[in-house]
Structure formats: structure tokens, C-alpha cells
Amino acid sequence: MGTWSHMWPSVLASFLASSVEFVEALTIVLAVGTVRGWRPALLGTWAGAGFLFMLVLAFGPALQHIPLPVLQLVVGVLLLLFGTRWLRKAILRAAGLVSLHDEDAIYAREKAMLQNEGKARAASLDWVAVTTTFKAVVLEGLEVVFIVIAVGSVGNMLLPATVGAAAAGLAVILLGLGLRKPLSRVPENTLKFAVGILLASFGVFWIGEGLRFSWPGQDLALFGLAAGFLAAAMVGVLLAKRSNHLESAEKPMESVGGRQ
């Protein structure tokens, strides 16, 4: 019970964050596969996955040589920047000020772009398709690798974090294979909201650990941080919506002032 209570935040953060990345990568791979063919799409996908694996093998062991407080501080700062970036965008989307991430629209745009690119000759490999999927898998995969390492490495939770990410990857791939279309019904902004809260919480926690700050309740402080960021995010949504009403109210006032 004690072990699971320490593990599940890492598993959950890794699973949710990785799900979002896998969905985004799947959209691109589906678009390429549908328009340019599955052979180059899958070749680019496997090449991207292989490249990421080599990166992890090359740099992963180096993390063990970094002093723990330094690792906690650096990983904490990166997690906090990463998490607040997502949370800020999710708040603005929830307030209606930024359009929601639309996988269907991205899928259609990618298909159109790929259709406009010149087709490869029948006998040669479609390098446009290969590089498009390679780039998508590497970029989204880098985020997954970062999340797993950041969430897992400083608290000896690498295995649970990896399991979370792997479970997310498997779920998204199976759904994608089953549906054969973008997973547009996944509540992406809600997921990004939750992931932003979790990653920002981890970030602040690890920064505190790296600076040798005390946390009331020690590891349990993560729950308090998550609750705090959730409350802050809800206030942020209200503030952002309120600014919308303020600007709308100013316009008629400006018109009256101008006539005088």
C-alpha cells in the first residue's frame, strides 16, 4: 500500500502525458499512411522510435552520474516550465480565448499538404512520407521520453513511469488500429489540463527537494500541490473569461468618449 501510494502519481502523470503525445503522433502517422501509403509511414515511425531508443541508451545512463540535488533542481525546473506551458494553454482554451486542439483539422491539413507534395515514383521510396512520420514520432516521442525520465528518475520511479507511458502507447495504438481515424473524441484539453497540473506539481516539488526545502507531509505534499494548481487554474479560467467581458464593456465606453 505504501509503495503504491508513492508510485501511482508517477504512473498517472506518465500515462496521461504520454497519451496526449501518442494521440498527436498517431494523427500524423494516420494522415501519412492514408495519403502516401502505409509502407513509408510505418518505416518513418519505426525509424523514429529506433532513433529515440538510441538516444535513451546513449544519454540515459549519464543521469546516474549527476549529483541528486542538481538532478532534482534541473529536472524540476524543466518539468515546471513544461507543465506551466501546457497549463497556461489549457486555461486559455478552457476560457474560450484559444481554439481547442482539433485532431480532425490537423489530420485534414496534413492530408492536404501531403497530397500537394509531388508523389514519389512507383519504384522509389516516398521520402516525404518517411520524413514526415519520422519527425512527428521523434518530436512527440522526445516529450514522452522527457516526461518518463523527469517523472521517474529523481524518485526511483523510472519503472512505474515507463509502465505508464508504455500503457498509454499501447492503448492509443490499439484504439488507432481499431478506429483507423484520428482520436478526435479524446478530451484533449481536459487531459492537458490534468497533465499540466501534475507536471507543474512534480516540478515545484522537485525544485523544493533540490533546494533542500521542507514539504509538509513530505511526498504527500504532491497532492497538496496538485490541489493548489487546480485551484489556481480554475481562478485563471475565471480571470481570463472576466477579461473578455471587460474588453467588451470598454468598447461602447470608448465610442461615447470619442463623440464628446
Binding site: 525546473v77 524543466l78 515546471l80 516550465l81 513544461f82 506551466t84 506551458r85 497549463l87 497556461r88 494553454k89 486555461i91 486559455l92 476560457a95 480565448l97 484559444v98 518530436l139 522526445l142 516529450e143 522527457f146 507543474a200 515545484v204 516539488f205 525544485i207 523544493g208 533546494l211 526545502f213 521542507s214 514539504w215 509538509p216 505534499a221 497538496g224 500541490l225 493548489g228 494548481f229 489556481a232 481562478v235 485563471g236 480571470l239 481570463a240 477579461s243 473578455n244 471587460l246 474588453e247 467588451s248 468598447k251
Partner: protein, 82 residues
């Protein structure tokens, strides 16, 4: 070289979208690291104070971003009307 620069920009973009928020957070972490240990408050408050500063910066940035966004929308509507 161009590909490496493009890749570096993409990776940078994973962590920084609004430069002002990133800079403010980094500055607050430095301030907290230097100042909090010297303040006369219980050690257990250091972590929560760190969090409160981050939350305040996030809210300020959201408010400012929302105002900026709305001004841009109103300006584009005014341009269309004129």
C-alpha cells in the same frame, strides 16, 4: 546546420511558449533559493511559498495573455469595420 538549428528550436519550444512566463518562473526560483532560507519563517513554509509564487506568476500571465488576445481581436474587428 539549418536542420540542427530547426531541431534545437523545436526542443526549446517544448519548454517555452511564452518567454515572459519562463523568465519570470526562473527568476522566482532563483529569488526563492537565495532569500527563503534567510527569512524567519518555519522551514515547512518554504515549499508552499515557492508554490504560491509560481501560482501567482501563472495567474498574472494568464490575465495578461487574455487581455492581449482580446485587444487583438477587437483591433482586427475595428480594422474590418473601417
Amino acid at each position: 546546420m539549418k536542420t540542427a538549428w530547426s531541431a534545437a528550436k523545436e526542443i526549446f519550444g517544448l519548454f517555452v511558449e511564452d518567454g515572459s512566463l519562463a523568465v519570470a518562473i526562473l527568476a522566482w526560483v532563483v529569488v526563492a533559493a537565495l532569500m527563503l532560507p534567510h527569512l524567519s519563517m518555519s522551514l515547512e513554509w518554504h515549499g508552499p511559498v515557492l508554490f504560491l509564487g509560481v501560482a501567482a506568476l501563472l495567474l498574472e500571465n494568464v490575465w495578461r495573455s487574455a487581455l492581449k488576445h482580446r485587444r487583438a481581436v477587437l483591433q482586427s474587428r475595428a480594422d474590418v469595420d473601417s
